[in-house]
Symmetry: C2
Subunit: 887 residues, 2 copies
């Protein structure tokens, strides 16, 4: 920790963000490169830490250091804080290392008091300007300095008093209120504050001290904490405080204030883009009291100032080599820059800006790649609500599947499938309490899915991301009543057929229709992803279960398939009844053989299609994984139906048979039950059929002159003997198919590492497995003992209360799950140094996890097709050493 607590702007520079915060560092930088920045100084973030460490006390000596810096500013401006004859007024603003716009407090016009106001007027200042500034100071300082300590002081009350005054006067606009009346408002404000037990401080230094403490305290106000949690900003870093000579946008009609981006933050177009208000202070632009004007208006009204501003924009872009978000004030036709920072932008803008800046020789390709947050690419790829649309959010759930969707609410998957099918279908949103594999057809036919229960990796969410269906899951504020075909949120009831919309990326549920626009795959995007591929060293595959998925994945840059879930194929159309009738007579080998014979015909075509679509790229195909009871109806519902029938003296033999099967197959913890390789050991015929189908499909592609590279993956292996046992059987099938078909197929056998014991004994398993794919969904479930279907209730509070740094189903938990992966890799490489290593859990599309996968030496990541570009970019960033580090 340095001893120096206060830095004049000329003492700092942009590299000092840790100490001076982003705003302070940039004010210093801009001062130093000669931009018109009002002079000032920054109290360091370390002081904030000291303030909290000492129980919210400013450190001894700080006020003296401030005084010294202040003297410098006073000298520069030729004005003195608190001197009625020639007063310096100050702004006091927060500024942490990372931008937290609007989350912390600001006090403007500091230094004004009754005397100073009169003094300024006496010296010729416009009384209206003076009292407008004074009333703002009283409101802001009282709100931020006392609002959290004196009950009942609220900004709202101040606004109301101003509103009442305007009403008394019969005017609408702030600017219509005269100087006298603003002075009266100041009196009312002071009286209000007094009535709450505080005397508004007349002493300028007392004001300053209160303002500094208020900014420090605002670091831990509720909205700042929430914002940091969402943005994953460390709570410990603290904020700096920037104290700066005021410049005034509210001195008259030759004054103004505004904010602008050096490029269009939505589209990335190279054009200065912003809003401003004349005769106003900064907050007016944001607050929406007056409607700000488009910056193009300034071009017409005041081309000189406008051109000067555009010039400053160019200077700043060239200096910072990035698009800037700039605050400015015009005081009596003189332009001041009050802040600049890297501008937040949409994914589309991020990509376009990065590509353009490379073409403009501002940045290198590496910098371009490093600069775009991979998660932003989602926005580039998905349908979005037409920019600028206003809409009515009635509930928020988990952003389970990004993208926007609009359609009529439907509460039954079959009805949704019926209504939504084909291109001709109606646009529907399937609304369910939760979804099961039963609902798949309905989900696929829907524009979007909304569920009341289930987390980010619930069935609905997995399907959503797998198939790119905009989905809001776990929206616990709605109550779905499937029977009544409606859901309610408080008083609002949405009935079947009512239009709703979803904004999946934000978890928003919207009342009514919204205009939805399709993704635009611009040339810039292609260029950008091409660069990413130049740098990246790790492969990117996709999880895809159908030829259509595969084609989409390849279009998005996948180099193969990292996971084909063969069981999804069992749910489709004609197949389900075959599967069910096999299950109902599962212990009869003849039935099993007959039904598997039927399924073989289907599956062979499935795989053939996938290999054709892959055009020679490899496909890791996972043999059947879920417990068989997933194909049967819900036990509870079926029990109730049969009980009701029985009570009514009815009897339905088929239903009762189904119930007996569901009962006998019921599992208390299906996640840890008869599934994966266990199922294959108990009923080996199913996987034998699947391997035959895979290899016959591959053979027919090869015979037609194509190429097919099947990597057959056995799931849920925890003990090498499981793999040894099943592989021995399957190798026989494989050899038989090769012999029958008369072709050689470059197949291999491997396993998923998704059971902790599999990772712990990887040295044994790698003897048998030619490749490992980390199934980090299940590995996370078992390593933590968290069921992803049931963890909503505690994962949310865990993350909120920082018991966990984040949702381990989103980003790999490096210390636990990651440790197991590392153990597995170390052990496996000892016995098979060239073992192919991949990941096919949902984490394969999460940038932080991609970084980790790169660090531990995986050969590829695999994710849902729509996340392929994200993974490609994240992998490139990892290779460049610019990846997302652990939180």
């Amino acid at each position: 920790m340095s001893n120096k607590r206060v830095y004049l702007f000329r003492e700092g520079d942009k590299s000092m963000r840790d100490l001076l915060g982003g705003k302070g560092a940039n004010l210093a930088e801009m001062s130093n490169i000669g931009l018109p920045v009002p002079p000032g100084f920054t109290i360091t973030t370390e002081v904030c830490t000291e303030y909290y460490a000492s129980g919210k006390k400013l450190p001894a000596g700080l006020m003296e250091e401030i005084e010294t810096a202040l003297k410098d500013v006073e000298k520069d401006q030729g004005k003195t804080l608190g001197d009625p004859n020639n007063p310096l007024l100050l702004s006091v603003r927060s500024g942490a290392k990372f931008s937290m716009p609007g989350m912390m407090d600001t006090v403007l016009n500091l230094g004004l008091n009754d005397q100073v106001a009169e003094g300024m007027i006496a010296k010729g200042a416009d009384p209206r300007f003076v009292y407008d500034s004074y009333r703002r100071l009283i409101m802001m300082l009282s709100d931020v300095a006392f609002g959290d300590r004196y009950e009942g002081i609220s900004k709202h009350d101040f606004e109301h008093q101003f509103y009442d005054l305007k009403a008394e006067l019969g005017v609408k606009e702030d600017l219509e209120v005269s100087a006298d009346k603003l002075k009266e408002l100041c009196e009312r404000y002071k009286a209000y504050v007094q009535s709450k037990g505080v005397t508004f401080p007349q002493d300028a230094r007392e004001q300053m001290k209160e303002a500094v403490e208020a900014v420090f305290r605002s670091w831990n106000n509720e909205r700042a904490i929430i914002y940091r949690r969402r943005e994953k900003i460390d709570d410990a870093i603290g904020t700096a405080v920037n104290i700066q000579a005021m410049v005034f946008g509210n001195m008259g009609d030759d004054c103004g204030t505004g904010v602008a981006f050096t490029r269009n933050a939505s589209t990335g177009d190279k054009e200065v883009f912003g809003e401003y208000l004349m005769n106003a202070q900064g907050e007016d632009v944001v607050a929406g009291v007056r409607t700000p004007l488009d910056l193009n208006e300034l071009k017409l009204q005041n081309p000189i100032i406008y051109n000067e501003f555009v010039n400053f924009c160019n200077v700043l872009e060239h200096h910072y080599k990035d698009m800037q978000d700039i605050e400015f004030t015009i005081e009596r036709n003189k332009l001041f820059i009050l802040q600049c920072r890297s501008g937040k932008r949409t994914g589309t803008a991020a990509v376009k800006t990065a590509v353009d800046m490379v073409h403009e020789c501002l940045i290198t390709k590496e910098e371009a790649i490093a600069r775009v947050n991979p998660d932003l690419l989602n926005q580039v790829l998905l349908p979005v609500i037409a920019p600028g649309t206003k809409y009515d959010v009635i509930a928020k759930g988990l952003p389970a599947g990004p993208g926007a969707a609009t359609g009529v609410a439907v509460f039954d998957a079959n009805r949704a499938a019926e209504m939504g099918k084909g291109g001709q279908g109606q646009r529907v949103i399937l609304v369910r309490a939760d979804t099961s594999p039963d609902d798949l057809a309905g989900m696929l036919a829907a524009q979007g899915v909304l569920t009341e229960r289930g987390g980010m990796t619930s069935h609905a969410a997995l399907v959503a991301r797998g198939f790119g269906i905009p989905t809001v899951a776990g929206c616990s504020s709605i109550r779905v009543d499937a029977e009544k075909r409606q859901f309610t949120i408080g008083d609002v009831t949405i009935k079947e057929g009512d239009y709703i919309s979803l904004n999946g990326g934000l978890g928003e549920v919207i009342h009514g229709q919204v205009p939805v626009e399709d993704a635009k795959m611009t040339g810039d995007f292609g260029t950008f992803m091409g660069w990413a591929d130049e740098f990246r060293k790790m492969g990117v595959r996709a999880n895809a279960d159908s030829p259509a998925d595969v084609r989409k994945a390849i279009e998005l840059g996948a180099e193969g398939v990292g996971l084909t879930r063969t069981e999804h194929m069992f749910f489709e159309g004609d197949r389900r009844p075959v599967v069910v009738s096999m299950i109902l007579d599962i212990d009869n080998p003849e039935t099993r053989a007959a039904k598997l014979g039927e399924l073989l015909e289907f599956q062979r075509e499935d795989f053939k299609g996938i290999f054709e679509a892959l055009e020679g790229r490899p496909a890791t195909i996972r043999l059947i994984d879920p417990p068989l009871h997933e194909f049967l109806p819900n036990l509870t519902e079926l029990t109730a139906e049969v009980a009701v029938d029985k009570a009514a003296g009815k009897s339905d033999a088929a239903k009762e048979t189904m119930l007996r099967a569901a009962e006998s197959m019921h599992e208390i913890n299906p996640m840890l039950g008869l599934r994966g390789v266990r199922l294959s050991i108990v009923y080996p015929e199913i996987v034998a059929m699947q391997v035959r189908a895979i290899l016959e499909g591959a053979a027919s592609v090869i015979k037609a002159g194509g190429k097919a590279v099947p990597e057959i993956m056995i799931p849920l292996v925890g003990h090498v003997n499981e793999l040894t046992t099943i592989k021995a059987d399957l190798e026989k099938t494989a050899k038989a198919v090769e012999a029958e078909q008369g072709v050689s197929i470059p197949y291999s056998f491997g396993t998923m590492i998704e059971v902790p014991r599999g990772a712990l004994t990887a040295d044994e398993i790698a003897v048998e497995a030619e490749f490992f794919s980390f199934g980090t969904n299940d590995l996370t479930q078992m390593t933590f003992g968290f069921s992803r279907d049931d963890s909503d209730k505690f994962l949310k509070p865990y993350v909120e209360r920082k018991i966990l740094p984040g949702d381990p189903f989103e980003s790999i938990d490096r210390k636990g799950v990651g440790q197991l992966m590392q153990i597995a890799i170390d052990k496996a490489k000892k016995v098979r140094p060239n073992i192919k290593l991949g990941i096919c859990g949902e984490h394969g599309g999460d940038p932080s996890s991609v970084q980790f996968c790169y660090e531990i030496g995986l050969d590829y990541v695999s994710c849902s097709p729509f996340r392929v570009p994200i993974a490609r970019l994240a992998a490139a960033q990892a290779a460049l050493g610019k990846g997302v580090s652990d939180k």
Copy 2:
């Protein structure tokens, strides 16, 4: 591998069991110490391995080696194999390293053929004896040598032909059949064999070769394989073959054969104990064709031979320093010893024999401790079916809770509780499809429990072992119909009120009543366990949830409580409704507070009672662990009930409220859901109440002049922050209670390590935890991804097919689960070298697991009270380096 393949008896000794098998080594040893053993030689176990390795071919040169050894025997006996004028006859017997009685094949009287038979008679041999021996040879050799290669040759057919012959002759006993008729029988036998395609070999050497190969082949007959699996004998070790000059018990009335134990194998009493038959060969004693006589009869009939035999028994016991199981033959009043081996015995006999032999100065205390299989102690402690009782086993399930029980079948837990309650109650056996915590009262009131479903660690099994209730679980051949109050097994229907019995240790379900005897805690047992405690270095505690359990555990030698499951207390009597009403309004803090206030009163008394019973010993008390929905009715049943009501136009508000609660709390994988520390973080008041109750209970004991050492254990911790968070709250409660009560309580906080992530991050967790207790049940579930409630369906085939070496819920899986334990210990000791380490999973009472716990340095193991002596003995054996190693 040695080059020598054949050892004369004089070339071997008892240390050569690996090479010569147990029988061969002991025959050699007995020869060398001068006992009357007919001369012979042994073909090594290595030859068996070679035989299989070369595709069932005898190695080249073997027959020559045999010939050399045979010459030695011929010389000794002055007879020649195959010489009609002076024939040597041989026995060919199997003999592996470990005794596998009756599992493999034997051929006696080898060397007989048509010519030799006539020659022997010509030289004066009794024709009846000659043809009796010949017919036995034809039957035995044909059966073992050809039975597995020629379809239709079966021992059964031979026996039928003899039976038919006796019927033709109108006689009943074998001895009534004349020499001529036996000769005729030999002809019939040869013709029968011929009809199946084999000519019975007349060449003695061909007979010998066939017999040797048959013995090798019998190593892999079905019953031998099953036996080895049950006894966990390695399939690879192979059998030796013993070829020995015949001595004949069937030469006349001065001949005989028998088997005896040097002590009573049931009681351990020091008395020779056995059976014999005059004029018979060995198989007759075993086969039960004739009823053998008690050896005491021989004492009367032939005191000289009897005394000589008793003398040999003493010689052998002193030589082997263990109780022996001996085969003998009397040929013309001369006694021969044909085999000796360590005698199998009951637990009671094992303990008594060991103690007696120490007192007899035959063995040391260490040897006594090493010699008793800890699992045998079960038999010493539990009620048993009165020895000698014949009973009718109608089904077999898993031996979930050892001990015998008899009572009337009852199909409802409440009814069982009603009928069985108090000392006055009827003896009932509770029969359920499966059990849930709801059934606890009924289970406790029952003599025994029988379930159709559920594995060795299902709810029923856990309760069974915890409370010492004889239980057969997962008896899948029965079908329970609770509604009809009956169960069926095939055609048999047992209705409520019918008597059944259980033999829990063997998983037997018995029709009707059987006499059941209580455990006898003899003085020898106490002496023996005292010695165990002298040697053992690791502590033994018990899992106990009530003062009665604690007292039982202490009586059985527990040094404290390693696990008190506080939730069991929530199910009892008046408490359940309080718990349920709290759950129904769980989100209302006022209800929670009120109901917890009521529960506090109960729990304080619970803990006070436990501390009193412990008399100052420590108690590890686990805070609430199960998901709250376990306290609610079954969702499926409730849904059906409400649906039926609704269909009938009825409505029961209370039931519907309950249903809504059950629905909203329902979890898909409750094992991985909202339970353990997660529950405490979401609803911290419950554990705050529990900690208060624990410490108030402790305080009242301390204030009364006693001692109480509560170790408060927080379950299911996977991330240190969980522990940090909850511990901070609970420490406050603890300090508050100390202040209120004005006493200092030596409490500590620790955690269960039962989630893989907990083990992997033990270095972080140990900073907060003063002790670890390995919860190996859950750790095994999560490490393997096996739900113990659902794993029956695959665990059984896994163990049968050797995919797993054993049930990991029985013995700790050292490679996987054990590796995690080792990781946890290594990491924890780095940050807290003196951390107290224990285990409280079911494995704490399993000898192999106890050995492992000793190896990795745990301070104590904890198990159910009835397994405490087993754990004490296993811990002593571990300390002596004689523990049960990994399988």
